[in-house]
């Protein structure tokens, strides 16, 4: 039987079936369509302007490694004129993050990008190993997720960048849409499909892989022979997210377009204005200056709970009330350094770039 020809160029032999379209295509056409679709996402949303300083949130995993490679490729090919940095967060998970950071350090050499590593230990005085030692594995993802979000912004502020790009892919976004509907998180549901989020007090953040299937990212890394770290976090994943992820995989198996269909759904609906009006207004954390919907931001609340030996105070209202009833915050409590937005364009004189 004659080899099947690529559905796009009709010249080379098809070697893969695209999960996103079901088309059987050749390797070169796959690279072309994958990169061009990311380029289309970037240009249609006007994510960058020449001279922008952009930090790539790099974990060493497949998504961020492919993102760094594609961003570098597209920046050179289409002359975006942006300055790219790698920004890594060291959560302090022995046997997981220390190994993945080695990958990021190799990526730094391979892609010739400056790298900044910021650790939870430096920022919060706690590693995730220490957090798990105190609270156990249950709810540890809550701590890690909240701490990471702030850490990325703080790292970006240290790098004095205008913009953070993360490797969130289409599967992640579809999963988040489903989770937010099922958990009734209307505030997050309203913004989770936005490609770019920026508040007055936060650094612009975007997801160029918003429409890229996870499977295609893996295919891209495989065919490009990219150096990435592929171990799952050693601490158990968020149970609820785990349910949603397993369900999404089932849906994808039934009909691969389900991922993009869910994103389309998420983009097609909006939260009613009268519901939006009841949502809490954004404010600044009185302790660390980071954006918050309460007087105290989630990270400060979680950290206080850890420091006072009542970690659940940051997770449930009941535990928080109990902690408040125990009296005021003791003096000398370890807190997060005060957050300040980057001073403006141009390199900061205080950046400590890891070049090892």
């Amino acid at each position: 039987m004659a080899p099947k020809l690529c559905a796009l160029c009709a010249k080379s032999r098809a070697i893969l079936k695209r999960p996103k379209t079901g088309q059987q295509i050749c390797k070169e056409c796959f690279f072309y369509v994958f990169e061009t679709e990311v380029h289309n996402t970037i240009t249609q949303s006007q994510l960058f302007k020449p001279g922008d300083r952009v930090a790539i949130g790099a974990s060493g995993g497949k998504d961020s490694t492919v993102l760094a490679y594609v961003m570098k490729t597209l920046n050179e090919r289409y002359d975006y004129g942006v300055h790219l940095y790698l920004l890594s967060i060291d959560e302090g998970i022995t046997g997981y993050r220390d190994d993945s950071l080695e990958t990021v350090k190799r990526n730094q050499q391979q892609y010739s990008m400056p790298l900044k590593i910021l650790s939870y230990n430096d920022l919060y005085g706690w590693t995730m190993d220490a957090v798990v030692a105190q609270i156990g594995k249950k709810n540890n993802c809550t701590f890690c997720g909240v701490f990471r979000r702030q850490a990325l912004d703080r790292g970006a502020a240290m790098l004095n960048v205008d913009h953070i790009v993360t490797g969130h892919n289409a599967d992640d976004i579809a999963e988040t849409v489903l989770m937010n509907v099922m958990r009734g998180d209307i505030a997050r549901l309203g913004r989770c499909t936005s490609i770019c989020t920026q508040g007055e007090d936060t650094i612009k953040r975007s997801k160029p892989f918003k429409y890229a299937y996870e499977k295609e990212i893996v295919m891209y890394a495989y065919f490009k022979k990219l150096d990435y770290f592929s171990t799952e976090c050693i601490y158990s994943p968020d149970a609820y997210r785990g349910h949603a992820r397993a369900f999404l995989k089932d849906l994808e198996a039934a009909r691969p377009s389900a991922i993009i269909d869910i994103i389309h759904s998420g983009e097609a609906f909006a939260v009613k204005e009268e519901v939006k009006a009841t949502q809490k207004a954004q404010q600044t954390c009185k302790r660390c200056g980071y954006m918050s919907s309460n007087e105290l931001c989630k990270a400060c609340s979680l950290l206080e709970g850890l420091e006072r030996g009542a970690a659940a105070a940051g997770v449930t209202d009941r535990a928080r009330k109990k902690l408040d009833a125990e009296g005021p915050v003791p003096e000398g409590l370890r807190t997060i350094p005060y957050f300040q937005m980057p001073s403006g364009p141009g390199p900061s004189t205080t950046i400590q770039i890891d070049t090892s």
Binding site: T21, G184, Y211, H243, D250, L251, R255, A258, S265
Partner: protein
């Protein structure tokens, strides 16, 4: 080391070392309403006795229906619909409960107002009630036609309600279309080729029978998901047309809270986010081609949308209602709807508020943009700019520059611009395991209302044709 039996792990002093079971209810086991009787049922940690449960369900039913009876949508002392009532009856649990509640609340002497004597509402809010059953067994040769059983049940239990049986193949039947006062159709029969472009084709003069059209349609659909959602769509639109033909102002469906939550997640997973509002409730305006004088919007209401499936089951059990429809669609295990059902019911066990959270969340959502028309298959609002969106996010051709869809291409080249995102996916989205078969890309007949829509488009083009520029004019 083995785990041991319960007897072996009894403590030395006879104390049980087994973990105590978490109680199903929060506080006492007395009824939360009357606080006297012992509880008979626990609904999301709240206990009810049998005598309080009945008014509780009736209250939820009325709350889900009465605010939507008057056109203005505001609940008034007098409920005054502008037309008759049609009830979609599948024979399943929800529609069985729905029928019983409609009869008890509005057409029975049972409802006596203690202060005012007989309830004036019991003269019947709607003058005529039609119960419509759509037989879907034609899709699956091995399935049993339940029409006669359902007819017997309705005529026996609800003799004052008119029974109207419909077949799924009526969606392809011009005689049925004429019988329900459908509009004019195109002189030639249009079909659609089930490939990514959804090219429109004129079918041979020797038209297949409605049953053959239906069976070819379902055989050619690319996935089980598509078959499942097509059945739901065709049933809903058939019911709407029956409601219109019986001069009904309202069409009621027995969708329970649980079923609604499943439909919402399943709909979102098939790209139906734009119509999330319609999934719970919709006002259907008959298309312009059907207009006979003053047409009014028919309101589709799901009055059991706050009553969970467990409550329906208990209600049917205590009321000794017979559930006549036992159908399970064959081969549906791998469809998105079936997977969603399995997932939501599983999740509900660990997170008991899941279904109500889903419906409450979706009730807070609206469509982002104004609709650009109505989908010619599902008859729901059509979102504009779908073609552009699709071409931006996935490249399907190296030569494709911009999608060349314009009014000049309509109505005769492609069905795509007339379909919503979900219906486009139903006809084109393939499974990962699908391989080329003879049926792929087959040309299938279109439902009669879609044919009517094409005539509408053709007429529209006729009106503006002299103003359109062709390539030679440039």
């Amino acid at each position: 080391m083995s785990c041991g039996t319960a007897a072996e792990i009894e403590g030395a002093r006879g104390e049980s070392m087994l973990m105590t079971k978490k109680p199903k209810h929060d506080r006492s086991n007395a009824c939360v309403k009357c606080k006297e009787n012992g509880g008979n049922i626990v609904i999301r940690h709240v206990v009810y006795c049998k005598s309080c449960f009945d008014p509780f369900v009736k209250h939820k039913f009325k709350k889900g229906l009465e605010p939507f009876i008057n056109v203005s949508g505001q609940k008034k002392a007098v409920l005054k619909p502008w037309g008759n009532l049609t009830i979609g009856f599948s024979g399943g649990l929800g529609s069985t409960v729905l029928l019983d509640l409609v009869k008890r609340c509005y057409y029975s002497s049972e409802e006596v107002d203690e202060k005012k004597g007989n309830n004036p509402r019991n003269d019947g809010i709607w003058k005529k009630v039609t119960v419509c059953f759509v037989d879907v067994s034609e899709v699956y040769p091995e399935a049993l036609d339940e029409t006669s059983q359902v007819a017997q049940y309705i005529q026996g239990s609800y003799p004052t309600f008119k029974f109207v049986p419909v077949r799924l193949s009526d969606a392809f039947d011009k005689r049925w279309w004429k019988a329900v006062r459908g509009g004019p159709l195109t002189t030639s029969d249009f079909g659609v080729q089930l490939d990514p472009d959804l090219a429109l084709r004129i079918l041979d003069a020797s038209s297949p029978t409605p049953l053959e059209s239906l069976q070819t349609y379902f055989r050619s659909l690319p996935t089980q998901t598509a078959a499942h959602s097509s059945i739901q769509t065709l049933v809903r639109v058939l019911l709407l047309h029956v409601a219109r033909s019986t001069d009904s102002s309202h069409l009621l469906l027995g969708t329970s809270l649980t079923s609604l939550a499943i439909s919402l997640i399943s709909g979102i997973s098939q790209g139906g986010g734009y119509n999330v509002r319609e999934e719970a409730q919709e006002d259907w305006m008959p298309p312009p081609t059907l207009k006979e004088g003053k047409e009014r919007a028919i309101r589709l209401v799901r009055p059991l949308r706050d009553v969970g499936v467990k409550e329906c089951e208990i209600y049917a059990w205590w009321r000794e209602l017979k559930v006549v429809g036992k159908h399970k669609w064959p081969g549906g295990g791998q469809s998105i709807a079936s997977l969603t059902k399995e997932f939501i019911l599983g999740l509900e066990k660990d997170y008991p508020s899941t279904v109500s959270t889903i419906t409450r969340t979706c009730a807070k959502l609206v469509s982002k943009d104004q609709p650009s028309g109505t989908c010619s298959i599902c008859q729901r609002p059509l979102q504009g700019g779908l073609d552009t969106w699709k071409s931006q996010i996935s490249i399907r051709s190296l030569t494709e520059v911009t999608p060349a869809r314009s009014v000049q291409d309509l109505p005769l080249s492609s069905l795509t611009p007339l379909l919503c995102y979900s219906c486009q996916g139903t006809l084109t989205s393939r499974s990962s395991k699908s391989v080329s078969t003879a049926e792929n890309g087959a040309t299938v007949s279109l439902p009669v209302w879609t044919q009517a829509k094409l005539l509408d488009q053709e007429a529209m083009k006729g009106e503006i044709e002299e103003f359109l520029l062709s390539d030679e004019d440039e």
